[in-house]
């Protein structure tokens, strides 16, 4: 029983630590955007040209959206804070109260209006296709000139539905963000992607391999008015909407075009360098601290996550192998608790961590009303995920301890707790050490999925850097080298530790006899 109480207690403490609540301050206006969809929004390193600090980082966001959001926040007498969120996470972040508004070049489609409210348009756009400049479709004039072309668009946008208007194209699976589609087009993985004029213009300016194709009214896509509009998204029934519309009405069409042109011209062009290695060297020079910070976060989450996960695994493993209580009520409580633990293990082993991250981070805010800090959420997710795996490993580790060890302890009159603490657990920990180390290495790699909840780990850092310099292959080569160095070093250290633990020399009985004879002489 004591064990049970200790177990529940430690779980409660763990939960309460991880769910430290963060309350939004009312004098701050939190606006969500990708900060990777220029010229609407992008990430930069300084605050020049009126950029705004991104929450929880030392980087800044700028772009058309940021400038519009600034005007809105000013009208409300609040300080603007930009929250960097992946496209798919924007609406969940809004509905779960993590942000006050979405200003992210988002169109007020009918489906989205079912979930959130939109302001009047703050920019009206034109649909274009971005292709490889040296490809077959570089001279297309009409959307019907793309026979057999591999075309895609961003996931969750109406752009993707427009593909069906193009006869004879090979529709590709939708992609997560524009940076990915640009790389795919550069490398001829796809022939082109559908986007809006400002984004296409930017792509063309920053990457000489890309070309934006515009269409006349008769040759282009047929779109509904609300689809080419971009609006500010707020919670359903939000009172701020009238203020926002008021602010937007004061910005004339002419001012909008001027602002958009200014933002398009502002974007930081990558410093040109010749040759792959020079480019890599330049990226490292310019972003060294971001790589180090990203690697630091990755290591931190995986180390702490593995340690807490192993402790969870040990607690549950010990609980599961404890002898059944003879007390009727206690044994019923035990059985219920055991069933809950089984469900926990099965669910967390049976679903991907990326899905768990989405559910825990957004779900906890939307349905439980608690807003968990991103880093705490990351630690929590990695810990309970590792815990689910370690539970089974610990159970195996306990069973792998020779039965004679239990019997000898019992025969000496030691009770279950004493036998566990003094004899079984020390041997179990030795048994599970290789598996725990393995989990650690897996965690270093798997924390990359946490970029879906915008945790600034190594992969996220790499993505941010690549979105600024458009050199994806070069940047991610660096990222992969860092990952490899991390896992390789950790593996070596663990091997060394294991060897250290096994330094006791094993000698045969025959040798021992000789030694003994010498001693006795």
């Amino acid at each position: 029983m004591k064990k049970l109480i200790i177990f529940i207690l430690s779980l409660t403490i763990f939960f309460s630590i991880t769910s430290i609540l963060t309350f939004a301050k009312s004098d701050v206006y939190k606006v969500g955007m990708e900060a990777g969809y220029p010229p609407f929004n992008w990430t930069q390193k300084t605050k020049k040209n009126g950029a705004v600090l991104i929450e929880g980082s030392d980087q800044y966001a700028n772009g058309y959206d940021v400038q519009i959001a600034k005007k809105v926040a000013k009208e409300m007498n609040k300080k603007l804070v930009v929250v960097k969120i992946k496209w798919d996470g924007l609406i969940p972040a809004l509905t779960s109260g993590k942000i006050d508004a979405i200003v992210a070049g988002m169109s007020p489609t009918k489906e989205r209006r079912d979930t959130i409210d939109f302001s009047n348009s703050y920019y009206t756009s034109q649909i274009v296709i971005v292709v490889n400049k040296n490809g077959k479709f570089a001279n297309a004039k009409s959307i019907q000139d793309f026979k057999n072309a591999k075309i895609t668009a961003q996931q969750g946008t109406f752009h993707y539905n427009l593909i069906s208007q193009m006869n004879g194209v090979k529709k590709q699976p939708a992609m997560g963000d524009f940076s990915g589609m640009r790389v795919a087009t550069q490398s001829n993985t796809i022939d082109g992607y559908i986007g809006e004029r400002p984004e296409g213009l930017t792509a063309q300016v920053n990457d000489p391999k890309l070309k934006m194709i515009t269409f006349s009214k008769t040759n282009g896509f047929k779109t509904k008015a609300d689809e080419v509009m971009t609006s500010i998204g707020v919670l359903k029934g939000n009172q701020d909407l009238s203020i926002i519309n008021d602010v937007l009405s004061k910005i004339s069409d002419k001012k909008r075009v001027q602002l958009m042109d200014k933002m398009t011209s502002l974007q930081n062009h990558p410093e040109k360098a010749d040759g792959f290695w020079q480019q890599v060297a330049m990226i490292i020079k310019a972003n060294g601290t971001y790589f180090v910070a990203g690697a630091g976060v990755t290591l931190f989450i995986s180390i702490i996550g593995t340690i807490i996960g192993t402790i969870i695994g040990l607690l549950i493993g010990v609980f599961k192998t404890a002898p059944k209580s003879s007390n009727k009520y206690l044994s019923i409580i035990n059985a219920i608790f055991n069933a809950i633990l089984n469900i926990y293990v099965e669910i967390f082993r049976g679903t991907p961590m990326i899905v768990q991250a989405m559910i825990i981070y957004y779900g906890s805010a939307q349905f439980l009303g608690i807003s968990i800090d991103k880093l705490w959420a990351a630690l929590f997710i990695v810990s309970i995920n590792t815990g689910a795996y370690m539970t089974e490993i610990v159970r195996g580790g306990i069973f792998a301890v020779d039965k004679g060890q239990f019997e000898a302890a019992a025969a000496l009159g030691m009770n279950h707790n004493q036998a566990m603490m003094k004899v079984i657990l020390p041997q179990t920990i030795r048994n599970i050490l290789p598996a725990a180390g393995n989990e650690f290495v897996i965690n270093i790699k798997d924390t990359s999925v946490l970029n879906v909840i915008s945790v600034s780990e190594l992969f996220f850092a790499g993505n941010t850097i690549a979105q600024q310099n458009y050199q994806y292959f070069q940047t991610f080569t660096i990222i992969s080298v860092i990952y490899f160095v991390l896992t390789f070093t950790v593996t070596r250290i663990l091997r060394f530790v294991e060897k250290k633990l096994d330094t006791v020399k094993v000698t045969t009985g025959a040798n021992q006899m000789q030694v003994k004879l010498e001693v006795e002489k």
Binding site: S326, A408, G413, M414, V423, G509, Q512, M513, K516
Partner: protein, 245 residues
């Protein structure tokens, strides 16, 4: 009649459909050396393991100093501290060195102070001739050395009864002698011992009483002289003829 320290009445043990112990009754007096012999599978080890409840008997009664140990309220852990057990496969704690092996149960189960436990441990390790090996891990010891540590570990609990479950069966022949000598020394101290063994010469020399088991029953029991020189039962004779010329 003296009060027996251990008394076993109508002990039965089933494992699934197999009746390993059919109906065992015997008693052991204080200071007595009882050996249990018999072919493999006759139930010797199960009987010994039932006495300290490593196996739960199916039915029957076991009395220790007049107390029924199968009573639900009986404190099994406390009882086990009074019954030392030496296993065939030594079962030294692999994560501890020799001294820790002998100390750990004293400080946990008996709540002795570390200082006292170490003193007792060293005394007993001295007696079994292993005082120079106290810092070694079990892996570094030979089988015979391991078994002598196991004996020192059991003796350090100051038990009333010592149980030996084929203590020399897992040893190389040249190491058997050391262990048997240690057991002989213990017997001289007046400790009560129940020994399951295949060492017939040893059994013959050391025993006050011998139980011959066959198919889950005590087929014959008597003094060492009776069993080894004048066996009455046919099965006893057959069994012994395989061992003694």
């Amino acid at each position: 009649m003296t009060n027996p320290i251990l008394e076993i009445r109508n002990l039965k043990k089933n494992q699934g459909d197999v009746n390993i112990l059919k109906d065992i009754s015997f008693s052991v007096n204080k200071g007595e050396i009882v050996t249990i012999i018999g072919s493999s599978g006759s139930g010797k080890s199960t009987l010994l393991r039932s006495i300290n409840l490593l196996e739960r008997p199916t039915s029957g009664e076991i009395y220790f100093k007049g107390q029924n140990i199968l009573d639900k309220k009986f404190n099994v852990n406390k009882y086990r501290t009074k019954l030392g057990m030496v296993f065939q496969s030594f079962n030294l704690f692999d994560n501890m060195n020799v001294l820790e092996n002998v100390v750990v149960a004293q400080t946990t189960a008996l709540k002795r102070s570390m200082e006292e436990a170490r003193k007792i441990a060293k005394l007993n390790l001295e007696k079994v001739g292993l005082i120079q090996h106290i810092d070694k891990k079990p892996k570094q010891l030979s089988g015979g050395q391991k078994q002598r540590v196991a004996i020192a570990r059991a003796v350090s609990m100051n038990p009333d009864v010592l149980l030996f479950d084929e203590p020399t069966s897992a040893l190389d022949p040249e190491m058997v002698g050391d262990v048997l000598k240690t057991m002989n020394d213990l017997a001289k101290t007046g400790l009560t011992m129940i020994i399951v063994t295949h060492e017939m010469q040893f059994a013959k020399d050391i025993s006050d009483r011998v139980l011959f088991m066959d198919k889950g029953l005590i087929a014959e029991s008597g003094s060492s002289e009776d069993i080894f020189k004048r066996p009455k039962e046919k099965r006893t004779k057959e069994f012994l003829s395989n061992f003694l010329k």
